[in-house]
Symmetry: C2
Subunit: 216 residues, 2 copies
């Protein structure tokens, strides 16, 4: 496996919407965006959501900084985040031929010291290919391997969240996470990265809520 | 294909987070939720998101009513919506054996008269099975059919959005929609239902923004 492929070539990136439940939301959102370090990232903020492209570690650091800065105001905030890796489905995706799936190192985030509650879903968009040793590298249509079960990596990711102490419950369509914002983002991102080692096109969505007045 | 299978058995439902960018958000959200007709639906509102189960038509009517009521206050609102159909991944999913995929009639919504801008993604979680006439009904692991291309139904759905006049652009990881809230929700839901006729487990995510001060 070559290391020459950049995250951008592989379609690694995020899209997120930061919601601030306060009449002063414009200032709070702009302050939060400018509080985060954009080093190494391509960032494009639009009217619906913000696009981020770069390495997995830098993308997640940026997300943690933006959301944490908004939550530090004390107002109720939520963030709807999409993380994607693999092609196609990404305008910039230019995957060299023969690359079946490309993992990455797990990310690590410094503790934020703020509680986040989240609903999380993980979507492997091609079933894992169970290789037989004699087959050629699989292409994205499934190649010569045998299709696996797309729920298998999802259950493994939920098991990982339980081991991390972040798992809170299994709700309809989503797994409930509860913990420090950094731990929640780490769990979501590392499951996405981990599944991405076997499945090329993997998307995960998480809705994070902080400072909610609703007691749980 | 039997008509005895209920949407609940098939895991049809939604999860959504309504975000209100105003200090009076608690009242606005509660008013919006109570303005919508819950007939025929199971609704469970929690601290992160609201779960809805029922028929496709009723779910989308409810979503249109809640979001429209919140937007009618004139404040900036966004809604992050997940629609899911098929098993597993749904706590209540009890799919009878031999059911490969189950479509539904397209939904129809009355015009809301309010503009919505959206970022939309569609995830067929099993590749479409290209049946050969002699094969037995496919099971969810792929059965005896030949796996198709999971991007094919996505491109078809984007084509449908263009024909509906709702397509605005292809952004990274998402298709941009722009139009009456009802038309945006119809496009999203009917693509999800349409892909669901061939693919059992289909999820779609859309982030809708209304009354945004950002001009586009």
């Amino acid at each position: 496996m070559t290391t020459q492929i950049t995250p951008q070539q592989y379609g690694v990136g995020a899209r997120f919407t930061l919601s601030v439940y306060d009449s002063d939301y414009v200032r709070i959102i702009l302050d939060a965006l400018s509080a985060a370090d954009p080093t190494g990232l391509e960032i494009d903020t639009g009217d619906i959501s913000t696009f981020i492209s770069g390495s997995e570690q830098r993308i997640l650091e940026y997300l943690a900084e933006v959301i944490s800065a908004a939550a530090a105001t004390g107002v109720h905030v939520s963030a709807s985040i999409l993380l994607s890796r693999g092609c196609p489905g990404e305008l910039q995706c230019e995957l060299p031929p023969g690359v079946a799936a490309l993992g990455a190192d797990p990310i690590r985030l410094a503790s934020v010291g703020r509680r986040a509650r989240a609903h999380w879903s993980l979507y492997p968009l091609l079933d894992a290919i169970k290789d037989d040793a004699t087959s050629a590298p699989q292409d994205r249509s499934g190649g010569t391997g045998v299709p696996g079960d797309h729920m298998e990596p999802i259950y493994a990711a939920i098991k990982g969240a339980k081991e991390a102490g972040i798992y809170s419950a299994s709700d309809h369509f989503a797994t409930r996470l509860d913990g420090d914002l950094a731990d929640v983002l780490e769990t979501v991102a590392n499951a996405w990265i981990g599944v991405g080692a076997n499945v090329q096109h993997v998307v995960t969505h998480v809705t994070i809520s902080m400072n909610s007045p609703t007691q749980v």
